[in-house]
Amino acid sequence: MTGFMTLEMRRALRDVRYLVLAVAMPIGLYLLFAGLFGSRGQTAQGLPQPTELMVAMVAYGAMWAVFSATGPRIAHERAIGWTRQLRVTPLSPASALSGKLVTALAAALPAMVLVALTAVVSHHVQLSAAQWPAMLAAMWAGVLPLALLGLAIGYLAGDEVAFPLTMALYFALGPLGGLWMPLSTMPHVMQDIAQFLPSNAVAELGWRITGGQASVPKAVLVLAAWTLGSGLVALLAYRRRATGPAS
């Protein structure tokens, strides 16, 4: 079990798609946006511009990290028959499933830390000694529903569909969740929708913590609801595959 997870993680961190979309892209966007919108001034959140952007890009990178380690990869393994081969080893289905989940969450952490590090080095973002771990831990926990969503896609979608579908979600949930542009610049309808998206809720946790506001009931509720919903779908999808005739 530990050997399985270690190898899954090593593989996740070597994946070019992971490095480009979970690490290079959020860092690139951070440098671009922070350059465009200036490194001074307050945002609607009451945060310095570079800090707000950092949180948004930490959320964005973490989102692709958990997606890339789940949806497309699981769908591909099902298609080529590796899932089936693994089922005739002593690794239990529950261990295989939880191994995927833990790997996805583990893959998020380096992406998050590297984006934060970029913000510190390039725009001298400063947080208190308590805020750094609090922000990272809260946002890390917050990507759990996105990882479950990735698992659900992996066990539902075919090999050709899973990657474009995950990409589409990644590119939709970012801007719609207010990670590219502040929500306040969007139409009201969009703002109303954004509050219920997991991408926005993850960033909201980070913004609240870096802004010194401890209470984040709404974002936590949104994430809890997404965790329940996508967790249930993932479980049903997995069970359907595990008991069906093919993979």
């Binding site: 530990t2 050997g3 190898l7 080529i80 590796w82 081969q85 693994l86 005739v88």
Partner: protein, 302 residues
Amino acid sequence: MVQRAGGVRPAVWAVGLGKSYGSTVALADLDLRVAVGETVALLGPNGAGKTTTIGVLLGLLSPDAGQVQVYGRLPSQAITGGLVGAMLQDAGLMPGVRVGELLAMVRGLYPRPLPFDDLVGLADLGSLLARRADRLSGGQAQRVRFAVAIAGDPLLLVLDEPTAAMDVQARRNFWRQIHGFTGRGRTVLFATHYLQEADDAADRVVVIAGGRKVADGPPAAIKARFGDQQVRFTLVQGARAQLAALDGVRAVDHDHARVTLHSVDIDATVRSLVSSGLAWSGLEVGGLDLETSFLRLLGEQP
């Protein structure tokens, strides 16, 4: 429920297995028993139910009817306990990792794996350990899949048409590797649709067709029954009475001057035909293919 036969628990024990997909019957009342240390071939044409049988034995499928035990346990328990290794048809390898990493990981899943160096030696993977498992040629991937199957030093090795895509030389090498592994009292069950392969590699052959067992016996007996091969030629000169006396001939058919000899040993028949002094032309040598002979046999079943 534990089966005992002379105090020895069989490696595989299955009775009355049934499985249907909608109106398609994949298995019907199939019994299968494999003793410890035996190498048994599951022989049948495509769609006979070989893969379904293996799926049930490995706990990948649950049968609609019947019971199955592997070393006295439920299939899923035997798998979890590391008693079984399997090469599934078209099963892939973990993408994005090196062969050495993959084998180390799979070994780690079993309670008593083969020593790493033994494993690499048996599957002849020394030169491939640093290669990516998803960038191998077909033959190389097959060797890695074999290594994955035996990594846990299983008591029972199950192989579903392991040589389907191989040429003769590759098939010979593959069976040499299998025998390298099974020399130590290991049990092997393999599916094939090559009669010759079953004859070469198995101690016993179980023939299935249409989801039913149609024959079960030593390879020689199965070959004599199913391996009907024919020599056809036009008899130019000579007595027809001589034909039935040629070596290996089981039956003779005539269509005017065109003769068909049914043989149980095609080499011997051709050799004795050549030295018989008969004059003939338009020689053809061929077999009733396995599928046809299964279907014919199925037609004889009640």
